[in-house]
């Protein structure tokens, strides 16, 4: 095992434990903190997998803003009474989760190894085209940005429109004319 894969194994174990804590903790505040820890672990995993753009998104959105929005939302609810730390486990839910996780894990065997030279994404003609032409055609060094804003700019305009539409819809539902 190389240093990177050892670190990745540690980080993923941490993420799985944080996810279990987020599911099992009875107090929602504790669950939100565990969920933020899970997002942080996943962000580190993205860095180890050499995907800094995704890592930045995961850290800022998953561990940062989402946690804050959850916190201001549960501030309006009441904490559960009693001293019990963990939620009671519903075995039907466990069965569904095991089924879903099992079927996803079954596909892992058919994935190429991380960084394998013969992985379909590495040998694809499209990947080759972007790597060859992104800089000469756009003058942008970050190929991810070149693809997002130039080659797939129309998709990104759609994404921005979705953000605007979702924001306006939520603000209308919450009826805060005082602010927006």
């Amino acid at each position: 095992m190389t240093a990177v894969s050892t670190t990745l194994a540690i980080v993923l174990t941490f993420s799985v434990l944080a996810a279990l804590a987020a599911i099992l903790l009875r107090d929602v505040l504790n669950a939100i903190i565990a969920f933020a820890a899970f997002s942080f672990g996943i962000a580190v995993a993205w860095i180890l997998l050499a995907a800094p753009d995704v890592a930045l998104t995961e850290a800022a959105v998953g561990a940062g803003i989402t946690t804050v929005l959850f916190l201001v939302t549960i501030a309006k609810t009441v904490r559960p009474s009693g001293e019990r730390l963990l939620e009671t486990v519903e075995w039907r839910s466990v069965a569904i989760v095991v089924l879903l996780v099992g079927s996803l894990l079954a596909t892992v065997r058919s994935l190429p190894a991380v960084g394998a030279a013969d992985a379909p994404v590495a040998t694809s003609r499209i990947t080759e085209y972007y790597l060859q032409n992104a800089y000469p055609e756009t003058g942008v060094e970050n190929v991810v940005t070149a693809v997002l804003a130039a080659y797939r700019g129309f998709d990104t305009l759609g994404e921005a429109t979705v953000v605007i539409a979702a924001g306006v819809a939520v603000l209308l539902v919450l009826r805060q004319e005082a602010y927006v």
């Binding site: 803003i65 940005t145 700019g153 953000v163 924001g167 939520v170 919450l174 602010y179």
Partner: protein
């Protein structure tokens, strides 16, 4: 009630305020860097916009959500959402005028530089949209009592109808109002003229809201 929910109230903490005052300029600058520099390094409009919003949220947590809201009141945030979306669309439409396809940056006739600066303008537009939406989402979620926008005279009627819920909210507001009054003094020291203006009005508004809420709650309990 409020003893069992200590996490609801805003607590003025010198440590948090000082830390936030030191950290926020760096978070904000880093957000702008990620937005502007998305073409050369990891990042882009979405990530940078979230970071800029996070800087504002930090301020709101440290100095009180109501003070931050008063500071940001006005058309700035919603204008940034609209201007961001329109900028992106007009960058695309402008290429049509230049004889190219929609969003074909080459049509602006500046070669590769045109493409690069077109992309950066688009990233900034996305950043404005994302940060604006997240900031307004935060404030509308955090404000809690959804009567905030209702005029004072119809407020009493609304409170009487769902008195049970408002009784809890009223308690929270009372504590918030007191904290904000102190906070106004802190902000005034900072020398932000608009803050003093907004804060001068805000405690008065929340005080009247609290009064009616408490009154309605009292009636309900009796």
């Amino acid at each position: 009630m409020s003893q069992s929910n200590p996490d609801r109230t805003y607590v003025e903490s010198t440590i948090i305020m000082t830390t936030v005052r030191v950290v926020v300029p760096f978070v904000f600058t880093f957000g702008l860097f990620v937005m502007f520099h998305g073409a050369e390094s990891a990042g882009g409009g979405f990530q940078g916009g979230v970071l800029v919003a996070a800087a504002v949220l930090l301020l709101a947590f440290a100095f009180g959500i109501e003070s931050a809201r008063a500071w940001l009141e006005g058309p700035l945030v919603k204008t940034s959402i609209a201007v961001g979306g329109a900028t992106f669309a007009f960058v695309g439409l402008g290429a049509l005028l230049g004889g190219g396809a929609f969003l074909e940056y080459e049509a602006y006739g500046f070669g590769t530089y045109g493409v690069k600066y077109g992309i950066e303008l688009v990233e900034l537009a996305i950043g404005a949209v994302v940060s604006g939406v997240l900031i307004s989402l935060f404030f509308s979620l955090a404000s809690g009592d959804f009567q905030a926008s209702v005029p004072a005279d119809s407020n009493g009627g609304a409170n009487a109808e769902n008195g049970g819920v408002n009784a809890e909210n009223g308690g929270v507001n009372a504590e918030n109002g007191g904290v904000n009054a102190e906070n106004g003094g802190v902000n005034a020291e900072n020398g932000a003229g608009s803050d003093a203006n907004g804060d001068g009005r805000d405690p008065a508004v929340s005080a009247t809201g609290t009064d009616t809420a408490v009154g309605a709650a009292g009636g309900e309990e009796a």
